[in-house]
């Protein structure tokens, strides 16, 4: 569904990604893991159109979307949940959700909203409160909910575990995994927290200093001790 082919991106003067190729198939979670500074966020921002690549292509359903604008890419069906629980605190919970997918029909948006409230009941309970009143975990749910409101075929999750309690992270990621399986969503998950990420993912990809050093079934990656010591630090 989403195919990345030989992608190279500079972040300032630093080569953040070097010739990265990977596939994100529908119906499952693909996890990219690696230490801080491995280029994970750069990968996500480039896919969403926030950064321009030096070389390489991004294909979505066989269409070349390399270098597209963020507002066009999300309309095609690729939604990014950026790092740091990107909700707008000045808006209410429901306004944050309604921001997603304004180009869609009224009926489509109503269906998505019902679905988001069913997935994350706490958002429904707080729909009229300011987003600044939510806890960290609730805000992460809101950020994911906003992305789902755009009716995506591919969901990009950038470091959702950051600053959240392990139990909450597990809950959210298991929900995402279930959603991928049920609705054929292609999920690309980028995580420093390798253990949790590899538990929900089918495929694991290890990124180090902008290069893919290993990819394969998530379980194999999780059990590869050499890999863990060398790149993941545990």
């Amino acid at each position: 569904m989403l195919r990345i082919d030989g992608l190279s991106v500079n972040y300032g003067a630093v080569e953040a990604l070097k010739n990265v190729s990977l596939d994100v198939p529908p119906g499952r979670v693909t996890a990219v893991i690696g230490a801080n500074g491995a280029g994970k966020s750069t990968l996500m921002r480039t896919l969403a159109g926030l950064q321009k690549p030096l070389a390489g292509r991004v294909l979505f359903n066989d269409e070349d979307i390399t270098g597209g604008k963020p507002e066009d890419i999300v309309r095609m069906g690729i939604a990014l949940v950026p790092e740091g629980r990107s909700t707008i605190p000045d808006l209410t919970v429901e306004e944050n959700l309604k921001l997603g997918g304004m180009w869609r029909t009224h009926a489509q948006r109503a269906t998505s909203l019902t679905r988001v409230y069913a997935l994350f009941p706490v958002l429904g309970e707080r729909r009229d409160l300011g987003a600044d009143t939510l806890s960290g975990g609730e805000r992460q749910q809101l950020a994911i909910g906003r992305a789902l409101m755009t009716g995506p075929q591919a969901l990009l999750l950038d470091e959702p575990s950051l600053g959240l309690a392990p139990l909450i992270v597990t809950q959210i990621l298991e929900l995402v995994e279930l959603m991928a399986r049920d609705s054929g969503l292609a999920v690309l998950l980028v995580e420093q927290n390798a253990v949790t990420a590899l538990r929900v993912a089918k495929t694991g990809i290890v990124l180090n200093l902008g290069e893919i050093v290993k990819s394969g079934p998530a379980q194999e990656i999780a059990q590869d001790e050499e890999l863990r010591h060398a790149y993941l630090g545990y």
């Binding site: 306004e95 921001l99 304004m102």
Partner: protein, 292 residues
């Protein structure tokens, strides 16, 4: 005591107009982080258009409507011709460019309509109501001004809080990146912000013109008052602009009443300095601090 009430009553309609002008400045600031010093130059220009339409057709109302449409268009033109190219360089360049637009508009108006002050008579009676055996400094025209401002502010707040495009504009102001990732065409929202500011300024211009006369520079002093109100309100708060716009109008009316109207700009300056000393982020701002 009766003086005090008289001064306050006399300040209401100019306060309401200053509120509109401050609102226009805030709308532009929210969308592009630029203070548009040409805002009242644009308003002056559209008020001349209103005057011309009125002289041709005899209808004040038609003049107002045409001025509002012209305000939208002039707002978009200023954004595209001047702000867009300059903003790519830096923000302070854009702010200086708005001064350039102000000067150009004043020169253009002087060429088209002449530099002499022209009368812009009120469409309805502007002498004070009589009650309790005396004449109060509040006229049917003041009531029309107040009603127009209330209607416009309510309409804007409905647009901003109850419609998709209003939500998109607010989100674009608060967090453009999240707005773009949600599919909002942020650049269009910025242009729309300038357009609506132009419309609001045009209404303010047509309403304020009968209170004095119309000349290419006659609105300059209102820029001082509107800027003061917008900054004290927090520069990005619509509520703050309206509240402190009216407040500034009342304070100026009191100062002018008890001393002399030439002291009003000085009072505006004092208010501005006090605000920057004690609450530099503004009273209604969404941000914790602002670089001064």
């Amino acid at each position: 005591m009766i003086d005090f009430i008289d001064y306050l009553l006399g300040g209401i309609s100019s306060g309401a107009i200053i509120a509109l002008m401050a609102l226009a400045l805030v709308l532009v600031w929210r969308s592009t982080r630029v203070v548009n010093f040409a805002q009242l130059g644009q308003a002056m220009f559209t008020t001349y258009i209103a005057l011309t339409v009125r002289e041709l057709t005899g209808s004040w109302f038609l003049g107002l409507i045409i001025a509002m449409a012209a305000g939208l268009i002039v707002g978009v033109i200023v954004h595209f011709l001047v702000i867009r190219p300059v903003k790519r360089l830096d923000t302070s360049g854009a702010i200086i460019a708005t001064f350039g637009v102000l000067i150009a508009l004043e020169a253009l108006a002087a060429m088209v309509w002449g530099g002499d002050p022209e009368a812009f008579p009120p469409p309805i009676n502007n002498s004070g109501y009589e009650a309790f055996g005396r004449i109060w400094p509040f006229s049917p025209y003041d009531l029309l001004v107040l009603a127009s401002v209330v209607v416009l502010v309510l309409a804007l707040s409905v647009v901003f809080t109850r419609t998709n495009v209003g939500l998109a504009m607010r989100a674009s102001a608060f967090n453009p990146e999240v707005a773009r990732l949600s599919g909002v065409r942020v650049n269009r929202m910025l242009v729309l912000g300038w357009a609506i500011a132009g419309l609001v300024g045009a209404v303010a211009g047509v309403l304020v013109a009968p209170l004095s006369t119309l000349s290419p520079t006659s609105f300059d002093i209102f820029l001082v008052f509107a800027f003061t109100a917008a900054v004290i309100g927090g520069l990005d708060s619509l509520v703050g602009a309206v509240a402190f716009g009216i407040g500034t109008g009342l304070v100026i009316a009191l100062v002018s009443g008890y001393s002399d109207s030439s002291n009003a700009p000085l009072v505006a300056l004092v208010l501005l300095v006090l605000n920057l000393l004690f609450k530099p982020e503004g009273v209604f701002s969404h941000h914790k601090a602002r670089a001064v």
